[in-house]
Amino acid sequence: MDTQLDLWEVFVQGKSGGQFMHAGSVHASDKEMALKYARDLYTRRNEGSAIWVVLSNNIVSSAPEDAEMFFDPANDKIYRHPTFYTMPEGALQI
């Protein structure tokens, strides 16, 4: 049985202090190999200052068809947004 090794997901942080963003996937058999392949594949033009790799099998995803129900709790809470509030006229820097 041939193998193309395990599938890993790659997250790259562009500049230090920034967010890690999903860049794509690599095949590798262990974590060191996954990191090196991710470096060679996704940061050949200085796109990264740090990389996370995680086995794809360890990622849990919500179901797209349940999105409406799943995210429903956030739908009726507009008071979580600053624009919900009426500010007294003349108040500055708020």
Partner: protein, 317 residues
Amino acid sequence: MQQTTGKMKLAELETNFERKIQAEEKIEPRDAMPEAYRLHLIRQISQHAHSEVIGMQPEGNWLLRAPSLRSKQILLAKIQDEGGHGLYLYSAAETLGISREEMIRQLHEGKAKYSNIFNYPTLTWADIGAIGWLVDGAAIVNQVALQRTSFGPYARAMFRICKEESFHQRQGYEIMATMMKGTPEQKKMAQDAMNRWWWPSLMMFGPHDSDSPHSGDAFKWKIKRKSNDELRQKFIDKTVQQAYVIGLTIPDPLLKWNEDKQGYDHGPIDWSEFKNVISGNGPCNRQRMEHHKFWHEEGKWVREAADAYKKRISTLN
């Protein structure tokens, strides 16, 4: 990836697919999609991936004979990018439920194709220029249009690839421009490469719209956003001017500016040659496949050793 189970019915899911396509939203791997859509994408994306990988061979042919250290470094970086493009695309196809082992098996058994253009040989250094300028140039036109394709992972791979491609085309054009400023022999070499690569490059866009009856679904599902002839026209219109600038002749006596359509008309494409090469009789078909199979087998022990090492360290932790 694991997924929590969804609770919608099939009919609802399919309307959801239609709605997303209509609204120009991307289809993601976990979204419900018609089986024919999934199979169409697997075929197209795996063929695209194989093309990137097989395309490394004609260029690799000149790595050890590149005329300077600079050109060798550039060519090496370019080929490495192409390998990367293959990997992005294999990953995109894998999200549709096909394994990489299976895609490679289909390639080796001749069930999956790769772009016909890579069945031509690279005879001189000018061919490296012609490939970068014309072949990558044609690929860019096609791939820019595919950035708007409806399948999310494919579209994202296209964005990444397009960002890397423009250096490929520019390095090729630079080689051609340099040779056109060289000795008479070098100029002749550049024109000869132009003559051999021009028509196969036009064929990369596939048959004329009037002869491609299967593109209906691809348009309906927004996998394909521009027709073969539209893309080919775009490529011709930008490339002709670039050829003139460096003094190259387009090997098409019927090529003529058409004021009404604000584009060039071109002479007839020899589709019998295209069919002949695609059915396996091109100058390099056998060599390309044998080379891929040979190195795939040669690398097997490395994959096995990596796998054994993984199992070993997992017992140690």
